[in-house]
């Protein structure tokens, strides 16, 4: 009889786990908390979806994202402060396909420095910087395989010298770059003019038909939207390969509430499902359990299950990326960022601790080194979101009448959408023991279970990196021709990067890490973690490609 595996979550990591296990002969059940918004992921050819170019559904009505009224999280800035927010805290989508349904599929690789963070650059005060238990070279073949699986477009020759040095490639990208967005070309020209090295950003978007999926038509509704045509690569590719084996059962709308442990062995899971007639619960047994519910939800499940935690590190070292977002306003030109596949150019210069001035600035402030992150060039906005910004600002600008014809004039002028673009740095977030996921003692979800409580504050290194690189971002925009370079004051301190890493980090030593180098929870025989929670460092890059490559490496070893 085939061995049976349960995979918790159908996103980037879980879909890879299901594929590898099923292709190795395992019978696999994938339990997904959220709904299936495809018309059925079995078979070949483009998968039909309920995703569409619909801002209300995608950005305001919780179609892709978890609904905070039934699945909230909580946030506080430190251990000694009360919870200041109940709702979403950088939460990933909870649907079949997970975070890969909302992404704009940026797929840069981490650098060698990210895997050898401690040995390459040394410690940072306050932070818990460590090396991964393997190096870039060990992961490179798995990067290659995931890039082929997703259909990543890019231009290997055009990558910066630093990128080529720190993330060497064996060959070209599977697909050539697609059309470059106007706003990205304009901001890339600005970056080049000040000596930076922009290039097309690697992205899992079909620039020509690939893997029975069509080429992207540049519809313009990309970041934050599900792809209507399946031109964008996602976890559905490995998930569908898994389903084609005939050995995989995909069960949506079903939340795993506990991993059942018997000594060192995971015997199965307990689940719950909300039906029109009320909650249903059940249990499934298995020979192997894979957790891939996203960093915050996997930690929550680990804590709800009382998993062995000899190191005391479960839920610690949460990393969310430190995003530095700056806006350029172009009153004399429409940049039409509503056409195209979201920002199509990036610079990686700021990822380099050897970037001119960064080391001196760090030492001047008592830190050994400073790293920023890659910068996406040419992001856009959408009209409902834009309108809400004007609504809020008119309270200040026109207190006697914060609405009316002036609101409509602002909408037509479109200084925050059509005559606008954004650049955003995905800043390295060092691991700190104080940034954690724990169970909230008060707030419960719709099933009556304690929710994830995120305790998080930006570290000193991150604050300093933002301070150092902010003028560089401003300079890019000024050189691009932006007449106004700005950002409105933050209205909240709740993190919203939607990059969620750490909490179950890999390591050789059970005394200092949660999982072994292949994701097996220390102290267990058959419980594997295969999502972003295993990350040891965050990189200064969108993390999904890396977490898929790490999951592939782990599961190939185990299956």
């Amino acid at each position: 009889m085939a061995r049976r595996a349960i995979v918790v979550g159908s996103g980037a990591g879980g879909s890879i786990a299901a594929m590898v296990l099923a292709e190795a002969g395992w019978d696999v059940v994938v339990l997904e908390k959220g709904p299936d918004l495809t018309t059925g992921p079995t078979g070949r050819g483009p998968v039909g979806t309920e995703f569409s170019n619909d801002e209300l559904k995608s950005r305001f009505r919780h179609f892709n994202a978890p609904d905070p009224l039934v699945h909230p999280q909580t946030f506080r800035a430190s251990d000694d402060q009360p919870v200041s927010h109940v709702g979403m805290v950088s939460a990933l989508p909870q649907v079949v396909g997970g975070g890969t349904v909302h992404w704009d599929a940026k797929t840069p690789r981490f650098w060698d420095l990210d895997f050898a963070a401690l040995s390459a650059n040394g410690p940072q005060p306050d932070a818990d910087v460590r090396d991964w238990p393997f190096d870039y070279a060990a992961l490179a073949p798995f990067y290659d395989e995931v890039e082929a699986l997703l259909g990543v477009q890019g231009d290997a020759d055009a990558l910066s010298g630093a990128t080529k040095r720190h993330a060497p490639r064996g060959g070209p990208f599977p697909l050539p770059p697609g059309p470059q967005q106007r706003a990205s070309l304009v901001t890339a020209a600005g970056a080049r003019a000040i000596g930076l090295h922009p290039s097309p950003i690697p992205a899992a978007i079909n620039s020509r038909p690939h893997d029975h999926r069509p080429a992207c038509v540049n519809c313009g509704f990309c970041a934050g939207y599900g792809c209507p045509s399946d031109a964008r690569g996602s976890a559905l590719s490995p998930l569908r390969r898994a389903l084609r084996t005939g050995r995989v059962e995909l069960v949506p709308d079903t939340m795993v509430t506990r991993v059942v442990m018997r000594g060192r062995r995971a015997g199965g899971v307990e689940w719950t499902r909300t039906t029109p007639d009320g909650p249903r619960t059940g249990r499934r047994s298995a020979d192997l359990v894979v957790l891939a519910a996203s960093a915050t939800e996997t930690v929550r499940l680990a804590l709800l299950s009382g998993l062995p935690d000899a190191s005391g590190m479960i839920g610690r070292r949460l990393m969310l990326h430190s995003i530095l977002d700056l806006w350029g306003v172009f009153p004399g030109e429409r940049l039409h960022a509503h056409k195209g596949r979201s920002a199509t150019q990036f610079v990686e210069d700021f990822n380099d601790p050897a970037f001119p001035g960064a080391g001196d600035y760090a030492r001047m402030h008592g830190l050994p080194y400073l790293r920023g992150g890659m910068v996406e060039l040419g992001l856009g906005s959408d009209p409902v979101h834009e309108g809400q910004s004007y609504r809020r600002h008119l309270r200040e600008l026109r207190p006697d009448k914060p609405f009316g014809a002036d609101f409509k004039r602002l909408m037509r002028a479109s200084l925050l959408r059509d005559r606008f673009t954004r650049v955003a740095m995905v800043g390295t977030d060092l691991p700190y023991l104080r940034n954690t996921v724990t169970l909230d003692p008060q707030v419960k979800d719709v099933h009556g279970l304690p929710v994830s409580r995120i305790t998080y504050a930006t570290g000193r290194h991150e604050s300093l990196a933002l301070e150092f690189y902010l003028p560089w971002l401003a300079w890019i925009l000024l050189e691009s021709g932006a007449e106004v370079v700005t950002r409105t004051a933050a209205t909240t301190h709740v993190p919203d990067s939607i990059h969620v890493l750490g909490g179950m980090h890999l390591g050789d030593d059970p005394k200092t890490s949660v999982c072994d180098p292949y994701g097996r929870v220390h102290g267990t025989d058959n419980l594997i973690v295969a999502d972003g929670s295993v990350a040891v460092t965050s990189g200064g890059h969108n993390p999904t490609l890396t977490l898929m490559a790490v999951a592939l490496r782990s599961l190939r070893h185990i299956a």
Partner: protein
């Protein structure tokens, strides 16, 4: 059935009413029938949202520029507030595309049923909003001494007042959704919201050619006005951290 009666039926128990009988949206020209609003409430909504986002009839400055009245924002709001009473619920329009950009069938005219757990969330959300609309619209009427018949200046004073602010924030937020959201949700009638701002809306399945994506559309100076000047000045006065960075660069 007339509006208020229908609403009372819905309030008494949606399950008792065959939903399919209620699901047909009235077209233009037919007498307005409301699922959530009373007739009186709907009138207040029309007049209030026409002050927030005025059209040619509401503000001479907006000649040629349709507003909330023309976009049928009141319909958007009525559908929103009763969205879980439809079968399937009118919360999430379907995919992958409409028939506006080359699609043969408008898949967005069909709605995606809420899963049981999402339905719980939307019943909670709408429960809160319905209460706020009931009390908020009554408040507007009271503050204006009869909102619909009040002069425009009184309406504006009421809508800008501190007393009405919590409700007006919600009403304005939803009005923006009804102006510039996809028309399947009941607003943005004849795409007047998108047309007024030059936004092409959903583009699937045709999308854009590489040339359309990459090219410059040429100089296109924003039309000057006091609010555009004031907003530009506001943007040009960013938080201190950004301002300090700009000062260093410009030195």
């Amino acid at each position: 059935m007339t509006g208020p009666n229908r609403r009372q039926v819905m309030a008494a128990g949606a399950a008792a009413v065959p939903l399919t009988l209620l699901a047909g949206p009235p077209g233009h020209g037919t007498p307005a029938r409301w699922r959530f609003f009373t007739r009186r409430e709907a009138e207040v909504v029309v007049e209030a949202t026409a002050r927030l986002v005025p059209g040619p009839r509401d503000d001479p400055a907006e000649a040629g520029h349709p507003g909330a009245r023309e976009a049928d924002v009141v319909r958007y709001l009525d559908v929103l507030l009763s969205s879980v009473d439809f079968a399937p619920e009118r919360v999430h329009a379907g995919g992958p595309w409409s028939d506006r950009a080359g699609g043969r069938v408008n898949h967005a005219a069909r709605f995606v049923p809420l899963t049981a757990v999402r339905r719980i969330a939307w019943e909670r959300r709408l429960g809160g909003w319905r209460t706020r609309y009931r009390t908020g619209l009554a408040l507007l009427d009271r503050l204006a001494g009869g909102f619909t018949a009040a002069p425009a200046s009184t309406k504006d004073t009421v809508l800008a007042s501190e007393a009405a602010r919590p409700f007006v924030d919600l009403l304005f937020e939803h009005t923006i959704e009804g102006m510039y959201g996809n028309p399947e949700y009941g607003g943005n009638r004849d795409l007047v919201g998108w047309r007024d701002i030059g936004f092409p809306g959903d583009s699937q399945p045709t999308g854009y050619s590489p040339a359309e994506v990459e090219r410059s559309d040429g100089p296109d100076r924003v039309e000057p006005s006091p609010i555009v000047a004031d907003f530009t000045a506001f943007l040009d006065n960013p938080p201190e951290q950004v301002a300090a960075a700009l000062r260093r660069l410009r030195r």
